[in-house]
């Protein structure tokens, strides 16, 4: 299956990019596994619903634990849709075409699930509607809820609009079950590739891309403000917005590379997602990692130089205390080493970069843990006369399961989207290759 431009026809592209759309055994086994895992996690959540947040390890001093770290991670990962589609797209980079849908799928699924993650952290989830009924515009939580919903809507539209043309093609071409065809037909909006229709789609996409940039910046900046608007050591930082945004690009790029690898392998897309794409994504990852490293240096060196009372306790714990092991593994293994390695072309080959990206993504999650939890273990006033589990935070099993649940949900959403829709934009690829439908 080597790329041969001369023989590339519209039909070949269509079959290459859509042959995975069928329910096979592998899919059923995978989905079955995910569903069973999700049910187990839902059971854990039902325990929490019944008996309260006490089933988790969080207590009066560390009141935000895994759930919130997870929330920050999910918001971070969802940001990648904006980087790939909007920033690189608006900059006119053509190579991103096969990656846009992957990036948008990741954005949509992580943004949708981020909303659920934050509900799992609520002591009174049944009062969720109060946020809309009594919402105070002074609270960053209201801003966060607003921008996450908006970002989700924009990302969903941006996932859908380029798919309209693909839906029309699939509806006409594919030999598929009738219910699937019906869905495609409905989603295709009777697209017939007229200039007027294309004009609407192109203009709408352009508008979405422009809206997406400030909205994506807001979603993670506002999330960082949940911490930065407090005066706590480790959170009281004026660069938290860009620090979070750059960190989000690192996590998101890694997520896209991992997704690229598995889609390419499982759906046999080697002709479309090439080594060049991995190489380019490697360059993107190293660029955003460098920016993130720069913010890390600022974030730790400046307070570390002054060592103000509360900062000193916090930073000592991070650099050489209880959290030092996790901190240095995350900073070196998840940031410095990947940067050094990715400078070299051989490490930007699919398999090496997959391994690096997995390390980066795992480190990104633990980085969120290090941002959220240690600060709360060192409040300004001493923690005294409370049970030992108030002093040191230890996540419980139930809490861990409720934390894993959202990942499974994201995998389910990504699997479903990628299974029933072309992972790579069909129409766009055909147009770019100059092989229009006849």
């Amino acid at each position: 299956m080597t790329m041969d431009d001369n023989k590339l026809t519209f039909d070949k592209i269509t079959s290459d990019l859509t042959h995975h759309i069928r329910i096979n055994k592998g899919f059923l086994v995978w989905m079955g596994f995910l569903t069973v895992s999700l049910v187990a996690c839902l059971y854990a959540y039902s325990l929490q619903l019944r008996t309260g947040l006490g089933v988790a390890g969080i207590r009066d001093y560390v009141t935000w634990g895994l759930y919130l770290a997870n929330f920050v991670f999910f918001v971070a990962a969802s940001l990648i849709g904006m980087l790939i589609s909007a920033v690189l797209g608006l900059a006119g980079m053509k190579w991103i075409t096969p990656l846009t849908r992957i990036a948008e799928t990741i954005a949509v699924s992580f943004a949708a699930v981020a909303g659920l993650v934050i509900v799992s952290d609520m002591g009174r989830p049944e009062r969720l509607a109060y946020v809309f009924i009594y919402g105070r515009p002074q609270s960053p939580i209201l801003w966060d809820v607003t921008v996450i919903i908006t970002y989700f809507a924009l990302s969903l539209l941006l996932l859908y609009l380029p798919m309209i043309a693909d839906m029309a093609i699939l509806h006409r071409k594919g030999a598929l079950p009738s219910w699937l065809k019906g869905t495609y037909k409905c989603l295709s909006l009777n697209f017939t590739d007229t200039p007027a229709q294309n004009r609407i789609i192109n203009r709408s996409i352009r508008m979405l891309l422009i809206l997406l940039v400030p909205m994506a910046l807001s979603i993670h900046t506002v999330t960082s403000w949940l911490f930065a608007v407090t005066s706590r050591a480790g959170w009281d930082s004026s660069i938290f917005g860009p620090y979070f945004v750059s960190g989000a690009f690192v996590a998101g790029s890694a997520a896209v590379i991992i997704a690229m690898f598995f889609f390419r392998k499982n759906y046999k897309l080697q002709d479309y997602i090439t080594d060049l794409h991995f190489d380019n994504m490697g360059k993107v990852l190293v660029t955003v990692s460098l920016v993130y490293l720069y913010f890390n240096i600022n974030e730790f060196l400046v307070p570390g130089y002054k060592l103000q009372r509360a900062d000193a306790i916090h930073l000592t714990e991070l650099f050489s205390g209880k959290d030092a092991c996790m901190f240095w593994i995350v900073q070196i293994g998840g940031l410095v080493l990947p940067i050094l390695l990715l400078f070299f072309r051989p490490f930007r080959k699919p398999l090496p970069i997959l391994v690096i990206s997995i390390a980066v993504l795992i480190a990104a999650w633990f980085k969120r843990y290090l941002i959220v939890i240690p600060t709360q273990e060192h409040p300004f006033l001493p923690i005294q006369h409370v049970p030992q589990n108030f002093v040191v935070y230890t996540p419980t099993l139930v809490e861990t399961m409720i934390t894993i649940g959202p990942f499974i949900l994201v995998l389910i959403i990504i699997t479903l989207i990628s299974k029933f829709f072309p992972v790579i934009p069909l129409h766009e690829t055909a147009v770019e290759k100059g092989v229009e439908d006849v």
Partner: protein, 323 residues
């Protein structure tokens, strides 16, 4: 419409048909709105006429904004807030003309923890739940350790209230920061924002949940406590309404606490019941606030632990190992 697409290949007739249909719908909608409005107008007119027939008498009344209005005498109902409404508006409005302050004299605290037990009993708290906690402080290695009772500072620039997404915690005109646990969604942003670690959360079923069932909620006491919501020191707002000193202030055996009204420039010692001038007390004893550099403007003042009446002792914990 999809079927229309297939049957009518030229676009024009399809369009015109669609537009007529749309027009029809639009007209129908307009008509509907018109009918509804008309009916409403007729109905209210009918009620007005009925009322007029009933008495024909009208009375002139003064409204809250100072206008004179004439109202049918049947329409006049005495305005009384009752039960829960009254309680809720009371707890939001506070006690008019007051600005509550507390002064804690660190030289007198010997960590008897009477304030804590009185408070926990009043607010139905577990032993590890503190609205008021006495901390053993040592500011630097060579300075002397001392006991510091620490409660909510009822800041005039409260970071906890600023971040609340649903107005569940609020500052009252009399300075008290209260919680409405019927409103609280349990996001715990206020706990993260409070630099004094003054807030606690009901992680598990509150101590007296079973006993307190059916009790009407009183925000000024925050009882009954509710699972999944915040609690904290309320300056015993319920006691102030009765003209009494807060629970902790009254329970202290060592005359640590003064409580009073900044507007009257006076505070009363909870143990000796002696009332003194706030400004003089703070001036003579070098009164200070906790972490004023954070700009929170606390309403709790501390008198430094000099000339201590009691030696410092390491405190023993009475709380369980794990909760």
């Amino acid at each position: 419409m999809e079927e229309n697409n297939n049957t009518h290949s030229p676009n024009e007739p399809e369009k015109s048909k669609a537009s007529t249909r749309r027009d029809f719908l639009k007209n129908l909608g307009l008509a509907g709105v018109g009918v509804a409005t008309g009916a409403a107008a007729l109905y209210s007119g009918h009620i007005f006429e009925a009322k007029k027939e009933a008495t024909g008498e009208s009375k002139v009344l003064l409204t809250q904004d100072g206008r004179l209005v004439s109202v049918d005498s049947l329409e006049i109902k005495s305005h009384e807030k009752t039960g829960e409404d009254l309680r809720e508006s009371q707890s939001r409005e506070g006690i008019p003309g007051r600005r509550w302050v507390m002064v804690t004299d660190l030289s007198r605290c010997r960590n008897a923890r009477k304030c804590i037990s009185a408070c926990q009993e009043a607010h139905h708290l577990r032993p590890e739940q503190y609205h008021m906690n006495t901390l053993q402080m040592q500011d630097s290695p060579n300075t002397a350790p001392y006991n510091m009772p620490k409660n909510c500072q009822h800041c005039d620039n409260p970071p906890c209230v600023a971040v609340c997404p649903v107005d569940a915690t609020y500052k009252r005109p009399d300075g008290i920061v209260l919680i409405e646990n019927d409103r609280c969604i349990g996001c715990r942003f206020c706990m993260a924002a409070c630099p004094y670690s003054a807030r606690i959360f009901n992680w598990i079923e509150p101590k007296d949940a079973a006993k307190d069932q059916g009790i009407e909620y009183n925000a000024e006491l925050n009882v009954p406590q509710k699972l999944g919501t915040i609690s904290k020191c309320l300056f015993s707002a319920d006691r102030l309404r009765e003209g009494k000193l807060p629970y902790c202030v009254e329970a202290c055996p060592n005359s640590v606490y003064y409580f009073g009204d900044e507007n009257e420039d006076s505070v009363t010692n909870g143990t000796t019941k002696e009332t003194v001038r706030l400004s003089k007390l703070l001036r003579d004893n070098g009164g200070y606030q906790l972490m004023p550099e954070l700009g929170t403007k606390p309403r709790v003042y501390y008198l430094p632990p000099k000339n201590r009446l009691f030696p410092f002792e390491e405190a023993k914990d009475a709380t369980p190992e794990k909760v």
